[in-house]
């Protein structure tokens, strides 16, 4: 499978926060979920890819070409949804659309109209009067109406109710049915990714922690629950994170076989992405 995006040695120093040698690649045909807690570096990474933040060092290749040298061509092939709307609040959706549509060479008005009627949006409504959910739907319609191959979204689901989030996930899966399409989206609402992601990319304190197939990570890790009496010096070592209450414990392990052999009677469940994320970030203090 081809790499649609390659980021190598990306650095950006803000003084109080820095992206430290960020390297990863996105595979074509996959939905990659970019996870991490608030302030981990997700937005800065995405903005660097889009050229909205000037990087200090590193290379960013999109579709095999350096993005900064082919900016116009590259941006025609990506659709972008950012956390804050970046729209002119006093305009109507129709007016704003005209400005955006003009900047893409392959804008498809019929696709746009299709999304607008599907989302039940009224184009002469002012952007400042839109609800959070309507804003997101409007952004999605704009991002998907120029036949982009890569959709990049920064926290598209934050602040949305579960129904709208579900609708968005269905739209993503629909988009993926097209040939050669890919999605890269950041979120701290990991349950969205349980449903749709193919690959997970975890960032913490400006560093990439891992980049892995979602199902592999969930298969190799286990959420273990059991009697606290089973914990001793040796069995503790089998866990990446551990939460203890008076009688029981709950922990995440990547040594399921050893746990099963050494700790009889424990329950081993499939972890969620949230369990995995909390295990690998911020020195895993007691979070529950």
């Amino acid at each position: 499978m081809n790499n649609i995006l390659e980021v190598n040695g990306l650095k950006k120093d803000f003084g109080s926060f820095c992206l430290d040698n960020v390297s990863f690649s996105l595979q074509e045909g996959c939905i990659t979920g970019f996870i991490g807690i608030n302030g981990a570096g997700k937005t800065t990474t995405i903005k660097s890819i889009l050229g909205l933040v000037l990087k200090d060092a590193g290379s960013i290749k999109l579709f095999g070409k350096e993005i900064s040298e082919n900016e116009r061509e590259m941006k025609n092939r990506i659709g972008v949804v950012l956390d804050e709307g970046y729209f002119y609040e006093d305009m109507t959706m129709m007016e704003m659309k005209r400005i955006i549509a003009a900047s893409y060479s392959n804008w498809d008005e019929s696709v746009f109209k299709g999304y607008i009627s599907r989302f039940k949006l009224i184009l002469n409504q002012k952007i400042s009067t839109l609800s959070k959910g309507m804003r997101m739907k409007y952004s999605i319609a704009l991002a998907l109406s120029h036949h982009a191959d890569l959709l990049i979204m920064d926290e598209p689901t934050s602040g949305l109710d579960p129904l709208v989030r579900n609708e968005l996930m269905d739209i993503l899966l629909e988009f993926m049915r097209g040939k050669g399409k890919s999605v890269f989206f950041s979120t701290h609402i990991t349950s969205d990714l349980d449903k749709v992601a193919d690959v997970l990319l975890l960032i913490d304190e400006g560093k990439i922690v891992f980049s892995e197939e979602k199902d592999m990570i969930l298969d190799t890790h286990g959420l273990v629950k059991g009697d606290r009496a089973l914990l001793n010096e040796q069995t503790r070592k089998l866990f990446l994170s551990l939460n203890e209450t008076e009688y029981s414990f709950e922990g995440v392990t990547n040594k399921k076989t050893a746990v099963r052999q050494q700790m009889s009677g424990v329950l081993i469940e499939r972890p969620t992405i949230e369990d995995i994320m909390l295990t690998y970030v911020g020195g895993n203090e007691d979070v529950i």
Binding site: Q27, G29, C30, I31, L173, M176, R177, D194, K195, V196, A197, D198, V199, E213, K214, D215, M216, L218, D219, K225, G226, K256, L267, I268, E269, R270
Partner: protein
């Protein structure tokens, strides 16, 4: 006591045409996801719910429906292909391969072995002796003869 045998389904897939192939993924299972899916497709082929030449869903369609990664469904199809169960034609899709009797026979035997291993494990954990287990099996055969 905690329940040790609760199977939680996260999703199931029904093949559209004919609604014959059914895949159920158990959330509390030791088997990796791709293995669960692969085994069930194989089962469907053994039981002729998926017939020779029948087209399989695309890897993306199957991944979307089962809510698993497309990389997982790709691995499933790759392995089924290398084991001779399916054939993938570029641009056309994946199809159930024509039956290879020897292969089929061996796989069927393997299926029984896997199930027997489960039975054996359960029997051991419940402290059922070898003799008892054998007599249970004898009983099953006797019932069938009647």
């Amino acid at each position: 006591m905690m329940c040790m045998v609760c199977i939680k389904c996260i999703n199931s897939y029904r093949h559209r045409e004919g609604a014959s192939m059914k895949i159920i993924i158990a959330n509390v299972s030791d088997k990796p996801l791709y293995q669960q899916i692969k085994d069930q497709i194989k089962d469907a082929i053994f039981r002729s719910e998926l017939k020779e030449g029948e087209i399989l869903p695309s890897i993306r369609a199957l991944a979307n429906d089962l809510r698993v990664s497309v990389l997982t469904t790709r691995r499933v199809y790759d392995e089924l292909q290398s084991e001779g169960f399916i054939i993938t034609k570029a641009g056309k899709g994946s199809f159930v391969a024509s039956e290879n009797l020897e292969l089929l026979q061996e796989s069927k035997r393997h299926m029984v072995e896997v199930k027997l291993t489960d039975v054996w494990k359960t029997a051991r954990s419940l402290k059922i002796s070898k003799e008892e287990l054998y007599s249970m099996m004898d009983l099953l055969f006797e019932e069938e003869d009647e």
